[in-house]
């Protein structure tokens, strides 16, 4: 297994800069997910790591070797494509053995490697078939098998589950995770699906417009997003954002939410000041994840006045859309809680689950 380091990788297409200085370190055996919306540059970055495209600037270091001038076949990598890219005129066996074949391995080595991997992926009964005869899930496994057979130092996945239906996607996701646990491979995985990112990754790099917004383990990305983009991208239903101003007075730190007609609305005490340095009156955005809400009881200091607008019962929870200070806010509450439309209620949130962002820079404050 190899590690991967990217230093100041940039990519320009004419005047358009698609990657604006990417720095990443991935340890051996790590599972890095490049997460972001379409057009953020994640697939381009993967192509550059693979050697299918050249960076305009920057270094790609695989293991302890600078790989910039290396042809893809010499980088000790394997890749699984979104479209699987299985060779249509070859059997599954030939597909999987292709890489070894190109490197001059003898037939015996090829067959053994293919059989071993086929067993691992539970496709041993399919090795004599052609891609056209396989289902989507089977093709996906063959694509993975082709990569595994090569036993490379680095695995690259380009949205491999996007073409599968929802149930298969969940199933294959677990299989990928099990494989990773078992084999300890170094993986770079591109996706736009944040659930895949959260469940599979050892570290997630959230990308936007060619830049990495935040790079860290999943819990850090989730619990301490470094800006509003990351906060809003990861987590479903999406984090709620409410605009307001900080008030730093002798009574303590609090937020004054914007009132719908302008001016001051509700005041939410934040208790112990977490950001002592921030000045009074700083415009901020308060972020609260839907699952952080609960109905307020006696003794709660932080009280949020809300009005029920929409109730959606999902079976496992109740999703309620409230109006808070004129803004829609979604909360995920217990399935037993069934308010009526129009109810005026009071909610509360654990102060540790509050996210504060500067309104202008969208950067995290607390």
């Amino acid at each position: 297994m190899k590690s991967l380091t990217l230093q100041n990788v940039r990519k320009r297409f004419g005047a358009l800069e698609v990657l604006k200085g990417i720095d990443v370190t991935l340890e051996e055996g790590g599972f890095l997910v490049l997460l972001g919306p379409s057009g953020c540059g994640k697939s381009t970055l993967l192509s550059i790591i693979a050697g299918l495209e050249e960076p305009s600037d920057g270094k790609i270091i695989i293991g302890d070797q600078i790989a910039n001038d290396l042809h893809p076949k010499d980088r000790d990598i394997a890749m699984v494509f979104q479209s699987y890219a299985l060779y249509p005129s070859m059997t599954v066996r030939k597909n999987m053995a292709f890489g070894l074949n190109m490197r001059g391995a003898d037939q015996k080595t090829q067959d053994e490697a293919v059989d071993q991997v086929a067993q691992l992926l539970d496709i041993a009964h399919l090795v004599a078939r052609r891609p056209a005869e396989l289902s989507g899930g089977q093709r996906q496994r063959v694509a993975m098998g082709r990569a595994l057979v090569r036993d490379p130092g680095l695995f690259l996945f380009d949205e491999p589950l996007s073409n599968l239906d929802a149930m298969l996607r969940v199933q294959m996701r677990s299989e990928i995770k099990k494989l990773h646990n078992r084999l300890g491979t170094t993986v770079v995985y591109v996706t736009h699906d944040q659930v895949e990112a959260m469940t599979l990754a050892t570290s997630i790099a959230v990308m936007r417009d060619g830049e990495i917004q935040q790079n860290g383990p999943p819990d850090e990305i989730y619990d301490r997003p470094s800006n509003m983009f990351v906060a809003g991208f990861v987590g479903s239903p999406r984090m709620n954002f409410m605009g307001g101003n900080l008030r730093n007075t002798t009574d303590g730190l609090s937020i004054v939410l914007d009132a719908p007609e302008g001016g001051d609305g509700q005041v939410l005490p934040l208790g112990t000041p977490v950001l002592a340095a921030s000045g009074d009156g700083t415009p901020v955005v308060l972020g609260i994840r839907p699952e952080s809400f609960r109905p307020a009881v006696e003794g709660d200091d932080l009280r949020i006045l809300a009005r029920v607008e929409l109730v959606e019962f999902t079976g496992a929870d109740t999703l309620i859309t409230y109006t808070v200070a004129g803004q829609p806010v979604t909360a995920r509450l217990s399935a037993d809680y069934r308010p009526s439309l129009g109810d005026e209620v009071t909610l509360t949130v654990d102060a540790r689950r509050l996210h504060l962002f500067a309104r202008d820079s969208e950067e995290r404050l607390n």
């Binding site: 494509f81 060779y87 005129s89 070859m90 292709f98 082709r146």
Partner: protein, 305 residues
């Protein structure tokens, strides 16, 4: 006024279109047409091969003569020459057009700037009439006036202008060259379309797997094009066997019978000798040979798949 006059038939047509079998109604005119102008003449042509009909010898009548023409054919040396020439003509021309067309298609597939215009220019020979193409090349290859001879003399390859189409050894090869010039765009066009249909991801996967450009060509490009290659080849073979036009204009079979092919021989018998019966027999044999070839060819193509 006209609208009013057309109203009734249009309404009838509109109602007709709602009929259950409207789909069939739409194709009936074309089927009738084909039956009248293709099926009937073909059957008639086949029966004609069993009859005597020489416009220049009305005294011989137009009665049935059974297999007389076919028996004559077996002993006719020109028939056998024409047969071997047809095989040579078709095989070499198709081979050349295949290679040329493939080369062009691979180059044009790279989608470099200027290629769109190049495509138009490269396709042009296919759309030029045989009459003009034949005479053009005849002029270029003329022993005295031809530019090709001139160039060859200047390069020292020849000492004097060669009468390419007067020499039985060079007439057929030169005719094949002209045909290759005329026909390669057909291959190029369809190969280009086939190439564009190959997903780019296959080449990226092959690059990661370690295949160089040559290996990628053999393992990915050609296999993906198998069906189109088979289809184009058989279409061209059929076209070349059936149509004597280019040779008609270029050499008319000469010198002697050096460029005589079956389709041309049949045509000449019909419209130079006016021996319709024999011409029919020749056409039928040519058709049968073609059909046999097609069946064998399709079998082989299916097996390999």
């Amino acid at each position: 006024m006209i609208m009013k006059w057309l109203k009734a038939p249009m309404q009838w047509l509109a109602q007709l279109s709602e009929h259950r079998h409207w789909a069939y109604f739409l194709i009936i005119p074309s089927i009738i047409f084909i039956c009248i102008v293709i099926i009937y003449p073909t059957i008639s042509g086949i029966t004609l091969s069993f009859r005597e009909m020489r416009l220049t010898r009305p005294d011989l009548g137009t009665g049935f003569v059974g297999l007389k023409h076919y028996q004559y054919m077996i002993t006719d040396p020109v028939f056998w020459i024409a047969l071997t020439n047809t095989v040579k003509w078709v095989t070499v021309a198709v081979l050349m057009e295949f290679l040329l067309g493939l080369g062009v298609a691979l180059a044009l597939n790279r989608d470099l700037p200027g290629m769109k215009l190049a495509t138009v220019l490269i396709l042009l020979p296919w759309f030029l009439p045989n009459v003009v193409a034949g005479n053009m090349w005849a002029l270029m290859l003329d022993p005295r006036l031809g530019i090709i001879n001139d160039v060859l003399i200047n390069f020292g390859v020849l000492t004097e202008g060669k009468a390419w189409f007067a020499d039985p050894d060079t007439a057929l090869p030169m005719a094949i060259l002209v045909e290759a010039w005329h026909g390669y765009p057909f291959f190029a066009l369809l190969f280009l379309a086939a190439l564009k249909g190959i997903p780019k991801d296959l080449y990226r996967a092959a690059a990661v797997d370690g295949a160089g450009p040559i290996k990628a060509f053999w393992q990915i490009t050609l296999p993906s094009m198998k069906m189109v290659i088979a289809a184009v080849i058989i279409l061209r073979v059929i076209g070349l066997v059936n149509s004597p036009e280019l040779l008609l204009v270029l050499t008319n079979g000469g010198p002697g019978d050096a460029t005589q092919v079956l389709s041309l021989y049949a045509f000449q018998n019909a419209f130079t000798s006016f021996d319709f019966g024999y011409s029919g027999a020749l056409s039928v044999i040519m058709f049968l040979i073609l059909m046999v070839f097609c069946v064998i060819y399709l079998r082989i193509a299916r097996i390999r798949d």
